[in-house]
């Protein structure tokens, strides 16, 4: 096995509410939803009519700008309605499920007998393709491209992230099959990264047909972008693809059984959850199925429900749905109460990377952090703190500033092709000026994509 790549910069935010390693099966939701906003840049065009019967794997809509990429129903049932937001933007495509899921049969033969194009086509038809992302731009991969390599992160370091070793139990064959399928999509290598200290699963450590890399260190060591940067970085003109760990399992299941079955194991986490643990669900499930009767009841504290982790997840309604890419649901307190001289009082309950609070003296303590911003937005003042949480050869402040002034040449030189919003989540977290860096990075990526397409 290869050398351990040690990540030194970064930050582990120690939150309360880590999921216990107990697996439960969530009840079947009364409604499932596919949410177009989960897919950045997507312009959905509907392919089914209200009231139509669909099977798991039946296409619901396609991307206007890339017609081959289909988005399919996670369960069988009846396409109930569209939920629209401002400017008639489609927010949810709702499906009332049958009692038992009826899967569309995609008639998959042996993986070995298919050529690359057939594999791509099957993935496009079945709705698996949106699981393949690309850098640059951090969007759904273009099926016409040939990537120089494909990356899979085999561990997650985000706050309260689920443990992949636990999730993979019993699904090792599907995972390997998924890797086999991905290996056929590139002439280069498939790179699988694992945690040098904590990954114990044999299926991960000794995955076949891929290059296994060991990483150690704090968050964001588990971010695929950081791993790409240290293994085979993206320069101008390069395209790499990457697939989320659980999506590899779903892809493997597809090529094993010939059905689109997006069931996955998610962690229910956060300080406001009574019994944080793991649940087997189907993508697009209602969050309330697992949070019902499992949330701390305090009248004076509002809750925030997040599909995903606290750094990069999406705020969802308590009755909302699990996001397409998300492996966890986090519930934390809202910080909507004013606090007297809150900026001055060094409460031991507050977490900070700076040493102006006591949290640096208590490395064992776990925190219950709320969603308060704690200040209005300010211009950049403090320097040198962003570099400490971004383990890349990238100058974060200079890159952000180049995006703010829309200097395309400078963005390119400073390495915008390598980054995704999630890589800047920690920079955003530590920023004393409360600058919304993930949003800015996304704007920069959009600008670049527009410029070169």
């Amino acid at each position: 096995m290869s050398q351990v790549i040690k990540i030194k910069k970064g930050l582990d935010i120690r939150l309360q509410g880590e999921a216990e390693k107990i697996l439960e099966t969530a009840p079947r939701s009364e409604v499932y939803a596919l949410k177009p906003p989960d897919f950045h840049g997507l312009f959905p065009k509907m392919m089914v009519k209200e009231g139509e019967k669909v099977k798991a794997g039946t296409p619901l809509f396609f991307d206007k700008y890339n017609e081959k990429v289909l988005f399919t129903a996670p369960v069988s049932g009846i396409y109930k309605e569209l939920v629209r937001g401002a400017k008639r933007r489609i927010l949810e495509v709702n499906i009332t499920p049958d009692a038992e899921t009826d899967h569309l049969d995609f008639k998959i033969g042996s993986l070995g007998d298919m050529d690359r194009q057939e594999i791509v086509d099957k993935m496009l038809q079945s709705g698996l393709w949106p699981m393949v992302h690309q850098r640059p731009y951090s969007v759904i991969a273009n099926p016409e491209d040939k990537p120089k390599a494909i990356f899979v992160s085999g561990f997650n370091t985000a706050p309260l992230a689920p443990d992949f070793d636990f999730i993979i139990k019993g699904q090792e064959d599907h995972f390997q099959k998924g890797l086999d399928a991905l290996a056929r999509l590139t002439d280069g290598d498939v790179h699988l990264s694992i945690d040098a200290e904590n990954t114990r699963s044999n299926a991960l450590q000794n995955a076949k047909g891929v290059k296994v890399h060991q990483f150690s260190g704090p968050h964001p060591a588990g971010n695929v972008g950081i791993q790409i940067h240290h293994i085979d970085p993206v320069d101008k003109g390069d395209i790499v693809w990457y697939v989320d760990f659980q999506d590899v399992i779903i892809i493997g299941r597809f090529f094993e059984k010939g059905i689109y079955d997006p069931s996955k194991i998610i962690a229910l986490t956060g300080s406001e959850v009574l019994n944080p643990r793991y649940y087997r669900v189907i993508t697009g499930a209602k969050i309330s199925d697992i949070t019902r009767d499992n949330i701390r009841q305090e009248k004076e504290v509002n809750k925030r429900f997040i599909s995903g982790d606290v750094l990069t997840g999406d705020k969802v309604d308590p009755n909302g749905f699990l996001g397409f890419y998300d492996n966890q649901v986090t519930v934390i307190p809202e910080g909507d109460k004013p606090e007297f001289m809150g900026w001055l009082i060094p409460s031991p309950e507050k977490f900070s990377v700076s040493r102006t609070f006591f949290s640096f003296l208590m490395p064992w303590k776990k925190y219950r952090i709320n969603t308060n911003i704690r200040s209005g937005e300010r211009p950049f003042v403090i320097t040198g703190i962003y570099e400490k949480v971004l383990p890349m050869e990238i100058m974060p402040m200079q890159l952000i500033k180049s995006i703010m002034i829309n200097d395309i040449d400078m963005m390119e030189k400073l390495g915008i092709y390598e980054v995704a919003p999630e890589d800047f989540a920690l920079c955003e977290f530590v920023c004393p000026s409360k600058i919304e860096m993930q949003t800015i990075i996304r704007e920069g990526l959009d600008t670049m994509q527009r410029e070169f397409s």
């Binding site: 606090e339 102006t356 704690r374």
Partner: protein, 384 residues
């Protein structure tokens, strides 16, 4: 805290759009957020945020300035009674200094904050916290004998020309506090050099030499205080600059909390020692002959190193850049002090000079970073 919150809620409508005091909304907001951290929650990006914010950053600089301020007050009194030859109790000395220094602090804050509030209203942005620090720095780097109107004029000049014309806090090129001092230094030179260092003596006594050690060396007459006196700070000088001990205490606060850049502080000291050492080797006059470490404890060197050079906005913003920036400040300070007798205090000019050059240093650091990235790209062979 319910009553306070209720009070804020009660008066708030008057300041909001359509209210009687609509124009003062930004001022109201500044006080509101000072008393109560508002219940604003994240809407995009990271759902949780670090507990650190600008107010807290700035207040830690103020905390770091407290030892300097207190010592400065006492020293003003101590120097005064020493000069007029009267034995005085510690408390008398301190109270005398307090009476001299406090009005300067109040005037500096009042003048500067007024400008900040006006500009925040005109530009319709939140009042930035930057001046909380500048307002304390300005009194500490001028003599206690400076007339109050002069403090006000210098502060207003510094905030408008030094900061607001560039877009406010975070956009300024020069350190506003140093700009205030530079303004006084060039506009009213007689108030910032010569017999000004001991408050309340000029009118009463002739022939009291209130010269600072730097002036002694530059002119070549008068008594040099001992190294220990200079280290402790029982010497004439600007209110906050004399005591290296008090400044070191502040430096510890800044470094431990991570608010001040240790990188800059160390490289300024290294630069000062380096240049002091070189001049000492080729010494041709008395000023050159002093041991290099004297430079660290004389005049504004220590104060500038800890509180001025480390201002994150006007300093170099890149890691490598900070070393170059600091080193050059140290070198230039000693050079100006020793080689240019017209300006015995080189710290102010050296920092302002390097403030101007910091963007250039950063430019080259960024260029070398880009070059490194390009090389990486070329190293990977044969792209399709």
């Amino acid at each position: 805290m319910k009553p306070l919150q209720n009070l804020v809620e009660k008066v708030k409508p008057h300041f909001e759009k359509g209210g009687r005091f609509e124009k003062f909304y930004r001022s109201f907001e500044a006080f509101e957020t000072f008393l109560l951290v508002p219940g604003n929650v994240t809407t995009r990006g990271s759902h949780i945020r670090d507990a650190m914010d600008m107010k807290r950053t700035m207040v830690h600089v103020i905390i770091a300035l407290v030892p300097v301020l207190l010592f400065g007050m006492w020293n003003v009194g101590y120097q005064h009674f020493k000069a007029i030859g009267v034995e005085a109790e510690f408390i008398d000395q301190f109270v005398y200094g307090l009476i001299k220094v406090l009005p300067i602090v109040i005037v500096s804050y009042a003048a500067g904050l007024a400008i900040e509030f006006i500009f925040a209203s005109i530009r319709d942005h939140e009042v930035n916290e930057g001046f909380l620090v500048s307002g304390m720095l300005i009194p500490l780097i001028i003599p206690a004998s400076t007339p109050l109107w002069m403090v006000a004029v210098a502060t207003i000049f510094a905030v408008i020309i030094g900061k607001e014309v560039f877009g406010g806090t975070g956009m300024n090129i020069l350190n506003p506090a140093l700009l205030a001092r530079a303004f006084l230094f060039f506009a009213y030179p007689s108030y910032l050099s010569g017999e000004v260092w001991i408050a309340g003596t000029a009118e009463q006594l002739d022939g009291v030499s209130g010269a600072t050690p730097l002036a002694v060396l530059a002119i070549g007459e008068g008594d040099m205080p001992s190294a220990m006196e200079m280290f402790l700070g029982t010497i004439p000088g600007s209110i906050g600059e004399t005591s290296t001990v008090a400044i070191l205490l502040g430096a510890i606060v800044l470094v431990v909390t991570g608010v001040g850049s240790l990188r800059i502080m160390l490289s300024v000291v290294a630069g000062g020692l380096l240049m002091g050492g070189i001049l000492n080797l080729v010494a041709v006059n008395e000023f050159m002959e002093i041991p290099p470490y004297y430079h660290l404890i004389m005049g504004g060197f220590a104060f500038g190193t800890v509180y001025m050079a480390t201002d994150p906005v006007s300093a170099s913003q890149t890691g490598v850049g900070k070393y170059i920036y600091g080193l050059l400040i140290g070198v230039l300070t000693v050079l100006i002090r020793v080689v240019n007798p017209a300006y015995p205090e080189g710290m102010m000019l050296a920092i302002l000079f390097m403030n101007v050059f910091a963007p250039l240093i950063d430019h080259y650091v960024v260029q070398s970073h880009i070059k490194k990235r390009m090389q990486r790209m070329e190293k990977i062979p044969a792209k399709a």
